[in-house]
């Protein structure tokens, strides 16, 4: 006999966790289906190979194919991307919301409409600035360079709780497995981990049924679950793939937007490397189209960044304690696609950089090297094939001149846009509140619905919009408690 629930949430990342908690607290019978495993918070070293294997999709080896291909990472575990990302928090900018609303005809997506939801997210995740005191060296490098150049930047607030351990400030990220998911379970939601929804069968007003493959002890079996409402929150790659496998294709999977990123390893004359954390200072001098910041820098990741020119750069790794990885991330004009392929579990992901993107990346690389040299770097190692080490501005100019995106190891996070929201049905897959156009009981509530990558870490924006959407659903569905009431109970 198949199981029936009021609401089934596919995915337990920031979108799914927000959705599940709100629905469960409103009294609905909620089942959350998560493809990855539950990994206890703090049980794996951040940015380690073990974390890549246990918490990233495909071991962190996923790529959007193109010229060049762009490596991307996605969380695949309970809590999704929140378990593996930097924890940097940004409220959505008013201009961004206006641009999205205009481009896709989105109703009621204003700063005022999102304000209570953003405030709730900030309280729940303890979004806070770093306690007073010196920045970690890897962050201080960015600030020092920015100050010397007169560029704008700031230490980005994070969703963390800072604790003092032997005089050191230690951040504990407030991931979904520490916050929303336990609260959803406390409110009565059920979570199936190691379980994958392979297809949704929509059956009109009677709801939907879903084929769920569950893994356990090396075996797997398929269960059929029916639900009055389905919320697909599987991320910007697997949400469109699931919808396509289920027969929904209109405006789904064709608007993938990312932040292509080029990296360098910068070396200083004193120790700066912090293997267990990453720099949180970001340079924002150039608006949303270009961000300069720092990445995780365990030695293995420095080796990876140096590997494009390994014969010349490999020896530098001996000095890894004086090095850290820094990036220039752009807002891309190009777009990509996600296509479910018959017979394959994973979709084909492609991305096409435009000439404008290539020029932005080149400019980003130039400004990043300039920033590092201004900060006092003794050497900068650009991460592209056959690059040369940079020690001064003259060498920087030559390295930038030789740069082509095709030679670079581009990577990205922050995938969005593959089921965009809005009332413009020629472009949008879901309506202004996440409901699939033309259907009554199928919703998207994750980064897929954000029209394009916002130029900053989108988790804060996504969570606020997800709160807004599930509130609208509950209000419209006449559930036992409206989402605004749900929000109020936590005010």
């Amino acid at each position: 006999m198949s199981r029936h629930v009021d609401a089934l949430v596919v995915g337990s990342g920031p979108g799914g966790a927000v959705t599940a908690r709100a629905l469960a607290e409103a009294g609905l019978d909620v089942l959350v289906v998560e493809e990855g495993d539950w990994v206890d918070p703090g049980s794996v070293e951040p940015y380690s190979v073990e974390q890549m294997q246990r918490q990233y999709r495909g071991g962190g080896l996923t790529a959007a194919l193109g010229r060049p291909s762009i490596a991307y990472t996605e969380g695949c575990c309970a809590g999704g991307g929140s378990e593996v990302n930097s924890g940097l928090y940004h409220r959505p900018a008013a201009q961004l919301l206006a641009d999205w609303s205009r481009a896709f005809s989105i109703d009621d997506l204003t700063p005022a409409a999102l304000e209570p939801h953003s405030a709730l997210v900030e309280r729940e995740l303890n979004v806070s600035a770093r306690p007073a005191g010196p920045l970690p060296e890897s962050s201080h490098v960015l600030r020092r360079g920015a100050e010397r150049l007169g560029w704008t930047g700031f230490d980005v607030p994070r969703w963390v709780r800072y604790t003092d351990v032997d005089g050191a400030v230690v951040p504990q990220r407030q991931t979904m497995t520490r916050t929303y998911l336990p609260q959803a379970l406390e409110a009565g939601a059920e979570l199936w981990t190691s379980s994958r929804v392979v297809k949704i069968h929509v059956d009109g007003a009677r709801g939907s049924s879903l084929d769920v493959v569950r893994r356990s002890g090396g075996h797997q079996h398929t269960e059929r679950v029916s639900a009055d409402n389905v919320f697909v929150c599987a991320g910007a790659v697997h949400t469109p793939a699931l919808l396509q496998r289920s027969g929904f294709r209109r405006n789904i999977g064709s608007n993938l937007s990312v932040h292509p990123t080029v990296k360098v390893v910068a070396e200083f004359d004193s120790e700066i490397n912090a293997p267990a954390d990453l720099p949180t200072y970001q340079v924002k001098e150039f608006g949303s189209w270009l961000s300069l910041g720092g990445s995780a820098s365990r030695p293995a990741l420095i080796a990876l960044a140096l590997s494009e020119s390994w014969p010349d750069f490999g020896e530098a790794l001996d000095r890894w304690r004086r090095q850290s990885v820094y990036y220039a991330a752009i807002q891309s004009v190009g777009r990509g696609t996600v296509r479910a392929l018959p017979g394959f579990a994973d979709p084909l992901v492609t991305y096409r950089l435009t000439r404008a993107d290539a020029e932005r990346l080149r400019t980003g690389l130039a400004r990043l090297i300039h920033l590092m040299l201004a900060a006092g770097a003794v050497a900068v190692y650009p991460s592209y094939a056959n690059a040369h080490r940079v020690r001064d501005r003259l060498e920087a100019a030559e390295v930038v001149r030789r740069f082509t995106p095709a030679a670079a190891s581009l990577m990205t996070v922050h995938l969005t846009g593959t089921a965009p929201m809005g009332e413009d049905t020629t472009r949008a897959a879901v309506n202004s509140f996440g409901r699939l156009h033309g259907l009554d009981n199928l919703y998207v509530n994750d980064a897929s619905m954000l029209p394009w990558a916002p130029g900053v870490n989108p988790q804060g924006t996504l969570m606020a919009v997800a709160h807004r959407n599930v509130a609208a659903f509950l209000a419209g569905a006449g559930a036992s408690a409206s989402a605004s009431a749900s929000s109020r109970t936590r005010t």
């Binding site: 495909g58 071991g59 060049p68 293997p275 365990r298 080796a303 490999g314 890894w320 394959f344 190891s409």
Partner: protein, 124 residues
Amino acid sequence: MDHPQGGATSPPTVVALVAVAFLANDVPDAQPAELAAASQYVDDSVAAMPDVTRAGVRLASGAAYLVLSLLGGSPYRRQSRASRSHVAGRVAAVSLPVLSELNRLSRGLALVSIYEQRFRNGSL
């Protein structure tokens, strides 16, 4: 068959063989146990890759294996370590669309494994 230079676990795939060939050239002081662990890590990682990427990496490694064998004058598995390292250096320097990109991926995995091992055991 043993993994390259060491551990008696499952036989390495062609992808692992090629990745370790590059590694022997990239990190000449890599120890047999490190290479064996890297080989296992590459195989595990390839198994976890998305279908399309995995298929591409296997294809690219197969092509690289053929070239390694041709340049070395005998099947790669029968070549000496010095010969392997020499020809791997030549192959690594070649830049071909897509194929080189995919081989860089498996080569990067092997590097990650070596330096993660060294970081964890404090030998860096």
